[in-house]
């Protein structure tokens, strides 16, 4: 079975500081894709960053970067220079290559950025 585990139900960080959200996954697939999605209180799910498993280089998008450890099946998200607008639920998600587009989500981490 393919599963995604986010072990931190809630986290908080001060504005302008750095925070890391954890994610581990379990799969027997060799080729797959990993995503971090953000869901603000308005509920619209927004893509933050994606990583292809065959790429060794960690993905970055402005203040967001990932630490992808394929052997450990770990995919953490680092947010630098946190902003109040980063307050949201963050979901880690996995999908294998091919077949269907089924995304398997973790339960999420509620991040609060404090002024």
């Amino acid at each position: 079975a393919q599963t995604v585990t986010q072990s931190q139900p809630e986290m908080s960080v001060q504005e302008a500081e750095t925070v890391t959200l954890s994610c581990t996954y379990d799969t027997s697939e060799s080729n797959y894709y990993l995503f971090w999605y953000k869901q603000p209180p308005s509920r619209q799910m927004i893509l933050v960053i994606r990583q292809e498993a065959y790429k060794q280089q960690n993905a970055t998008e402005n203040r967001f970067s990932v630490n992808f450890q394929k052997a450990a099946k770990s995919f953490s998200l680092k947010i630098s220079d946190s902003q109040l607008g980063d307050t949201a639920m963050y979901f880690c998600a996995f999908t294998p290559q091919g077949g269907s587009e089924k995304l398997v989500f973790g339960k999420g981490t509620k991040l609060t950025v404090n002024p």
Binding site: Q44, L47, G98, E101, K102, L103
Partner: protein, 116 residues
Amino acid sequence: DAGVTQSPTHLIKTRGQHVTLRCSPISGHKSVSWYQQVLGQGPQFIFQYYEKEERGRGNFPDRFSARQFPNYSSELNVNALLLGDSALYLCASSQWTGYAVQETQYFGPGTRLLVL
């Protein structure tokens, strides 16, 4: 460009009724997926449709069905509603074509369904 749109935004039904939720994908996207998000949980995959054919089905009972139209919009139908069907139903679209690369899914705002 318009994003993924869903209607209605909110819906209240009673047990045993049926409901139809609608989704319009981003222009040019031919793949539509449906997810159920129960309060406090991550979304769970229900269906994926591509070119009007079902390409994936999650672990949901047969009370759940869907279809995709020639314009790539989609409907999710749920029959014989149960209290446990109360959730946010999310639609996502992508440029997926069934080949090796997995495209990013873009989500709509969701339909909040409450079953009383």
